[in-house]
Subunit: 568 residues, 2 copies
């Protein structure tokens, strides 16, 4: 169950497409030179293939277990995590003052992609830690930061994000967990939370639970929520551990995949918590890490898609079966398998490039553009992950359906990514309502102009023509949906999901155009140009279908009353 | 984990769309009247919901086990199977002279769909028995038929289809299992077979293994294979059991889903077998049941899609979360959820109707048309099953990814259907190469004329217009691919997979047109017409994309050499 990290593709993107050198030239990255960035990427690849990948299949088979209120991670997990921390990887892109390496987001993107490709279940643990760090750096008091952040940056302690409740998923405003002020300035939190990744585990002795709860007497709804730091183990101000806090896993969920990542129901029974930031600003303060998490989930999609492509490509070159016309050959020679592998390459490469472009925008401080692209990256990369993993199964035939090759695990693991950290439907509404509607389409125009600017050299051949046509459709559909939204918000939003995919399809085409233009005159360059042509021929035509789907009149969706829609 | 069988939809199709009455008017169905057909459908629905559905989730969780060379089915399986047999369901469409009820294929289709919707893993056992009966009725000697078929028709004994070997999947000609003639006219078979569904199990005391093997000295390749009946337990001519035959399960596979259905590696170690039909006609004789199996797998897809729709619809009407604009409502009110449910309805209903139409063609003896539609039904319905199950997960959000609601199991179970009984890539090649190319497109023309004939009343509104446009694209792409195939078979076949889906999309549109025209002026009719409009608006546009994908020049697929295609 080996994992071969896509080092060549990542380095090509960083060097030739998204302009890593100009990012490293910024003063905040004065301590990083191109060689150390490349070395970090190569070393991250070795960590993924040598340390993370070997535990992935056993962790899936055995899963995490809950025994006497304590979650045990599957065999091999803790050892892999310790090796990961020994290499300093949890703090790769965190500030140096807290023990991090302060590398740019593009380096973290490469690490995340490869670690996710090796094992999504594993990689979710450091993600939770990084998310907690973001929240603490933005909203905690300095002494809290000094106590917690270095331990989180080293991976010695871990973090969790504790939002969802049984009746409060996408609609988090229904959360009922209560926080009662205590005499010492802390709060006593009581309630039940669900779907908490790594809510409890035995890889670290301490856990920073970042919990959304409602202070007694605060208003109902999303505006009444506040954010708290709830330690797994109570601590003195100097970090000395006291007894366990009154927060514990009461169940772990049976689920489709990511069995190595315990999904916990957490009971808080008067647990001691500390307010983070202002009261009743919980949602706004939580948004500090929403961008981080969206990019992380997008890179989970890219990582899984890349791993699925790797397995399928190897199998196709090794598996010998007859062609339609005579002598048996490796199945990579069969037209249908080639078509499938090219589609997998085109989707995976496009999603990867768009995610790294977004990471680069974050590094350049262009947060409006990055914020626009993030819901697209999250939704598109996660959908691509499921499709590419499914295609990888298909390439393997019956051998893909059995567990032996690890490819069915990839599809099961991938299937969470369109759901968590905001379902893709939520991402689509966010894009259309907030990132476009509430911005008067300024960032949209800016990005369309960037795409247009890259069309001017007319160097792209088929992919250039296809992107030009796609861009026209994107603009046309955007205008029409904005008009509809102006008349009736829900009428416009009814096209949100196909609209997001349309935007993503055009933007991935743009990235393939940029890759094709940047590709050198060598064998790798030939491959890039061919896959770009295939993207233009096989995938860009989806834009027309998506445009028509995005413009399906909202009334059609509401012609039937709910009982008929939900009838079976 | 209840299952609500879609009785209304099935009865509407049978009565109003595919013309069950005219099938029952045929002399071979003189013993069946419309009331008894309807009663059988309703009773089959109760069997699915009351007997089959309850064992599905536990069977998935526990799975089949191999102990001391004997496979044990999970708890509840054997009891459910016995109840299923007590009701006479295994023989519903088998001849009366062997104890069957000789119902038409449309009745079997309804039973299969609902049984599959309740539990795919369960339903695979009777499918294997029916497939074995088809082979035996076509190729066995009368005394063999007399001994075996009544026991298979009652379900007292079961069947298996034993084809695949580790190096011989789609390329079955590489099979190495040897058959050595014995003095008594039997053969001794030796070899290893894989992916044998219900290769061993404890639900029946006897098993008819239908085995492909090569008689010693026969030519290499697919032409040298013969078909054998290999009993699990040796028998006297009068049916008295002797010792176990030398065929046994040596392993059961860990796999993505259908855990209740043991997928066995079978070792034959000089097992006694009996030639079925002529020697070296094994493949041709096996084709006797290929049509049966394709329709069965298509109905697996329809069954799972229907079950997924059922679960999603119920969840959407019960789950209350905020809308974009204010007060919390059932999520079925949200535009994105409605869009999703309508897509699930449009795909499921279209695939169901096309499968029942195909079953009706079989009942009418129109085997050319049915043969044309079968690879389309198999591939399209199986792809739809995976998509609809995935959409059902998405409707459930995080609750869909955990096992509790049973919807993630549907997606895991569904994922086998595009693979087995000929991968969908094989179906696509079969359609284009054999059903169209080798038939000089006669059946294609016939079907296109039928579609055209249904357009003439112009009664369909949007769906009529969309089908008219789609039919034009289908004819255009067919001509172009046939031209390409005439020049270079592989050039044409490189478009086979999108071509099949294009044909299926148009044909499902045709079925929605027929349903819309047949629908009455009542609430159910309004629903049918609305979903037909949605099919026209949301799904028919895919035809254009599929046309462009089908026509991607074959050279583009072969621009890169294999090493580059398979590089990661």
């Amino acid at each position: 169950m080996t994992y071969r990290p896509p080092i060549d593709d990542i380095l090509f993107l960083l060097r030739e497409v998204i302009g890593a050198d100009s990012i490293l030239a910024r003063p905040e990255f004065a301590h990083v030179d191109p060689e150390s960035l490349e070395a970090a990427v190569r070393q991250a690849g070795r960590v993924a293939s040598d340390i993370v990948a070997p535990m992935n299949a056993p962790a899936d088979r055995i899963g995490a277990t809950l025994e006497n209120g304590v979650v045990r991670l599957p065999p091999g997990f803790v050892e892999a995590y310790e090796a990961f921390c020994d290499g300093g990887w949890p703090g790769l892109a965190l500030p140096e003052e807290y023990g991090g390496q302060a590398m740019p987001e593009i380096a973290q993107a490469a690490l995340s992609e490869m670690s996710n490709g090796a094992s999504l279940a594993f990689s979710m643990l450091p993600v939770c830690g990084r998310a907690a760090v973001r929240v603490l750096l933005a909203h905690a008091e300095p002494d809290t930061q000094a106590l917690w952040v270095p331990k989180l940056a080293s991976g010695e302690w871990s973090g969790t994000i504790v939002m969802t409740e049984p009746h409060a998923g996408s609609d988090i405003g229904q959360a009922r967990t209560k926080a009662v002020p205590q005499a010492d300035g802390s709060y006593a939190l009581t309630g039940t939370k669900i779907f908490i990744s790594f809510g409890d585990h035995d890889a670290t002795p301490q856990n920073a639970h970042i919990v959304l709860a409602r202070i007694e007497g605060a208003p109902e709804g999303v505006r009444g929520l506040s954010l708290f730091l709830v330690p797994r183990v109570t601590m003195e101000a100097d970090g000395t551990f006291g007894p366990r806090n009154a927060i514990a896993a009461s169940r772990i969920e049976e689920k489709m995949g990511i069995h190595g990542s315990p999904t916990c129901e957490m009971r808080l029974d008067g647990a001691t918590g500390y307010l983070l930031g202002e009261p009743e600003r919980g949602i706004q303060n939580m948004f500090t890490m929403i961008n981080t998490m969206r990019l992380e989930v997008a890179l989970e999609g890219v990582g899984i898609a890349g791993a699925a492509l790797d397995k399928a490509a190897r199998y196709a070159s090794e598996r010998v079966q007859g062609g339609s016309g005579g002598a048996a050959t490796a199945i990579v020679e069969h037209a249908d398998i080639r078509r499938t592998l090219l589609r997998m390459k085109a989707l995976t490469g496009g999603a990867r490039a768009l995610c790294y472009e977004t990471a680069a925008l974050l590094d350049r401080g262009r947060s409006e553009e990055a914020g626009f692209l993030l819901p697209i990256c999250k939704a598109v990369a996660s959908e691509i992950a499921v499709e590419v993993a499914s295609l990888a199964i298909q390439v393997h035939g019956g051998h893909g359906y059995i567990s032996e090759h690890g490819v069915e695990q990839l599809m099961r693991d991938a299937r969470i990514t369109p759901i968590y950290e905001g379902t893709n439907g939520i991402q689509a509404v966010d894009l259309l309502l907030r990132k476009i509607g509430r911005d008067d389409a300024r960032t949209l125009s800016l990005l369309c102009e960037r795409v247009e600017g890259d069309l001017e050299p007319a160097a792209g051949g088929e992919i250039g023509d296809a992107v030009a046509a796609g861009l026209g459709e994107w603009r046309r559909v955007s205008s029409l949906l904005l008009e509809r939204m102006a008349a009736d918000v829900n009428q416009g939003l009814s096209g949100a999901t196909p609209y997001l995919r349309l935007a993503g399809t055009v933007l991935m085409g743009w990235m393939w155009l940029r890759m094709a233009v940047a590709a050198k005159d060598d064998e790798y360059g030939d491959e890039i140009r061919t896959v770009a042509r295939f993207y233009a021929a096989d995938i860009m035509p989806e834009v027309d279908t998506l445009a028509r789907r995005a413009l399906v009149p909202g009334e059609l969706l509401y012609t039937l009353d709910s009982e008929r829609v939900a009838r079976v």
